[in-house]
């Protein structure tokens, strides 16, 4: 069956950053230089070809864009300045919007005004909500203790509710990702066994990003890993040790030492990435989508306000600490509620998931190619019986 080309698709992708893909004339240098491009995932050339011809369905089923860490080698080598690396990046953005069933992601990626507006709105609502809640709970003059403005036990419950909501979004989107890339392909002979035996890849890639370390630029990998681990550390601290973190004014070293390291990691990581993007220091930082800026700046402000409220609290300035806390929370909430399921942050789930699914898929394809898999097909069985 012939596939219908759609020359209009490229226009849909342009707001996601795919501005140069039509310049590509398929010399294949990008795929040759990429340390990850290998059968059956040959990229960036193949997804670029699908994009040029507007094969939307094929693109939606691709795991390839997530297997790229954007080291930028391909863009450096491209003789046509078709920016294969940035094309892969824009495909990731576009795929994120396709996985997302709410349509919010599409809105955000296509218009930074929408994204920023939504963040500001959620921030204001959060600020108002927590202020009213705090006034109903205690006094602004108390950071902790029985009369605390924002009692950490309540915040803890709120955190878990928020986590539940965003996990629902993220997981439902991830399920759609699985459907597009694996589930709907009826000819793919996947087995539950291979899903289980490859499952180790999910945590492995999530926590080590070992694949990224195989890119030529080790420093990017190190920075990225440090930023991610700092974030995860902070998440664990908040989700499981919030009451101990919030009690004061004395410092609980057993949890805070981790917090300090994580904060330092967050500040340094975002500062480095921001610096690279401002200076456009190499291929992967040459093109910055609005969503990239919003993401980095948001983390940086969240970290800064977190530090601020921590210092103010430890200094005994409870009123100021509570104000800082409100500001901190009004940024944390949109950061988590909007960025994680609908924007750049979602890649923390999609990327390891893609690597895991890619492994399962490759195994299935290998099986399909081997004689064993052929014999399993009823048609093939008949042919064999006939031949016998």
């Amino acid at each position: 069956m012939a596939i219908r080309a759609n020359p209009k698709l490229i226009e849909e992708l342009e707001p996601y950053g795919a501005e140069d893909v039509m310049k590509c004339y398929h010399c294949g240098n990008c795929s040759a230089v990429c340390p990850f491009s290998a059968d059956p995932y040959v990229f960036p050339r193949k997804p670029m070809r699908y994009l040029q011809m507007g094969l939307e369905d094929k693109l939606k089923g691709q795991l390839d864009p997530w297997l790229c860490y954007y080291c930028g080698e391909c863009s450096d080598q491209c003789p046509r300045e078709a920016e294969p690396g940035e094309t892969m990046m824009s495909l990731r953005r576009w795929l994120t919007s396709k996985y997302d069933w709410t349509g919010i992601s599409r809105l955000f990626y296509r218009s930074w005004r929408w994204e920023l507006g939504a963040i500001v709105l959620v921030a204001i609502l959060t600020a108002i909500g927590f202020t009213l809640f705090g006034m109903s709970q205690g006094s602004i003059a108390h950071y902790d203790g029985p009369d605390a403005f924002l009692p950490s036990a309540s915040i803890h419950i709120f955190d878990w509710v928020l986590a539940g909501v965003l996990l629902t979004f993220l997981l439902s989107n991830a399920a759609r990702m699985w459907w597009f890339t694996m589930g709907r392909d009826k000819d793919l002979p996947t087995t539950l066994g291979s899903y289980i035996t490859s499952a180790w890849m999910l945590p492995a890639h999530f926590f080590t990003q070992v694949r990224y370390s195989k890119c030529e630029h080790k420093r990017s990998w190190a920075t990225h890993l440090a930023l991610m681990l700092s974030y995860v550390t902070m998440l664990v601290l908040i989700m499981f040790f919030l009451t101990r973190m919030a009690s004061g004014p004395e410092i609980d070293w057993s949890v805070h030492v981790a917090g300090y390291f994580a904060t330092a990691g967050l500040l340094l990581g975002t500062a480095l990435f921001l610096r690279n993007r401002v200076k456009r220091s190499s291929a992967q930082y040459r093109h910055s989508h609005e969503s990239d800026w919003i993401f980095l700046v948001l983390i940086l402000i969240v970290a800064t306000t977190g530090i601020l409220q921590h210092i103010l609290h430890r200094s005994g300035l409870d009123v100021a600490a509570n104000v800082a806390y409100i500001v901190h929370l009004s940024l944390v909430v949109p950061m988590l509620a909007l960025e994680v399921p609908f924007s750049k942050w979602s890649h923390l789930a999609y990327r390891p998931l893609a690597m895991y699914l890619a492994q399962v898929r490759a195994t299935a394809l290998a099986r399909a190619r081997s004689g064993e898999a052929t014999a399993l097909r009823p048609g093939a069985e008949r042919t064999q019986a006939h031949a016998a």
Binding site: A2, A5, P7, I10, Q52, R80
Partner: protein, 574 residues
Amino acid sequence: MTERRIGVYVCNCGTNIANVVDCDAVAEAAQSLPGVAVSRSYKYMCSNPGQEMIVQDIREEGLDRVVVAACSPRMHEPTFRRAAEMAGLNPYLVQMANIREQCSWVHDPGETATDKAKDLVRAAVYRAACHEPLERMAVEMCPDTLVIGGGIAGMSAALELADAGNRVYLVERTASLGGNVARVDLTAPYLDSARDMIVDRVTRVVEHPNVDVLLESELERLDGFVGNFKATLVRRSSGEAPPRQVVDVGSVVVCTGYKEFDAARVTHFGYGKLPDVITSFEFEQMLKQGRIELKDGRLPQYVAIVHCVGSRSEEFHGYCSRVCCMTALKYAHEVKSALPKAYVSDVYVDMHAFGKGCEDFYRRSAEVKTLFLMYGKGERPVVRRADPGDDCEMLLTVDEQLSGELIELPADLIILMVGMEPRDDAGQVAHLVNISQDKDGWFIESHPKLDPVATTTDGVYIAGACQSPKDIPDSVAQARAAAARILGKISRGKLEIDAMYAEVDEDLCSGCRVCNEICPYSAIEFDEEKRRSHVISALCKACGACVATCPSAAIKARHFTDAQIFAEITGVLA
């Protein structure tokens, strides 16, 4: 046989010959051959001291024949003939024995190779003894030129010759000058106007006092030979008895161009059945009228351009038509600039962007977001009407090579890049001016690399797309190259004709006319009054076909007489 004084010179060619053949032994053996007065071996005979040696020996030893055993005569025969001439010896008294290509380069070192070299030298010595002094002929060179075809090549050649002060008869079969270029809107890759280019040329040609433009005319007959042709030109005006004129010209430039491939011969594109499948020339017409539209007047949203229609296929023509790729890119640019919202697809086999500025043009075509789809050579993209509800008129199915997918491409307007073909009358023209055609029908040049505008008939040149598909710059370059060749001959005034040609002994000729038919250069004429054939020496290439054919043995080839050939055979077998 009178006593000869033959000089034998064995060249070592550095080590080329000496490493395999014992040159001194060859020279020594030659010493004892009949008539040999001097025999020497030397490192490089073609060098100045080597030539000096020959000149000196001719003068001091009174040599009357020279044999040089060295490389191929194609390489250095002119060199040694010049040396002999310098010493006052007729150049045709020099004979070469090829002991390099035909001996040292193809054999292992040893006595056998040396023996073969001795045999070759002996053959040359025996033959040289029979050589006769020959004189080259000089003929007048008529400075007027006939140019056939008034396209860009013909006009360029005519202007070049006329500007140098020579009369040119420019014969054009149609009613206007300009040829195929006049049918084109802009040119690739710089998007210059073809009209401006043509108008300038036409005006200059028409107004030039040295150019006689003969429209609706053609060449009916060409007699004579280089420098001295008689061309019969006929005007094909409607109805009346065609007026004829005979002009004397020294040279002929054939610039008859090409015709476009007939797209109706390909069925799978639906040309002729689907209204909006058009050829590149039909699209040029649309561009010249200034509006890109469908048959029903609507503007196309999807424009597809298909390359290699009639070219590079086993079915039609195997060759590349060379101009279509860049013309297709030009269309992409023109469509994008006229209809910025249109989607242009370019369906190609290979992108041939070899010309100056062309690779850059290809790049810019991609930058204006042309979608390139590659189909395989020998594949057949098929066009069909779109289904109701589709946002396009037609669908083009392509087995797309860069993705490996079978792709259905939406299209409202499909432009077929039709290739070039020799004109239907190319065979007729070739026959008239006595030049050859290749398997595709293009005229054949004298040498594909070193002599690209001359033909096997002296004084007849080819330029432009009649020789093979060509773009404007190449056509103009060829036209001016042909003009330069002609101007060179005109400036010399007289033409020297090689002394090697066939001669008919009229006493022996029976007038059977077998030789008239066999001669590949039409160099033999039949004298109706005498009932005898005779050779036009200026046209003869001394191929020897008539000599071998003549049942009365009435034809003799100068420098290849029976006596010379037999002496050579005797020598090699002795």
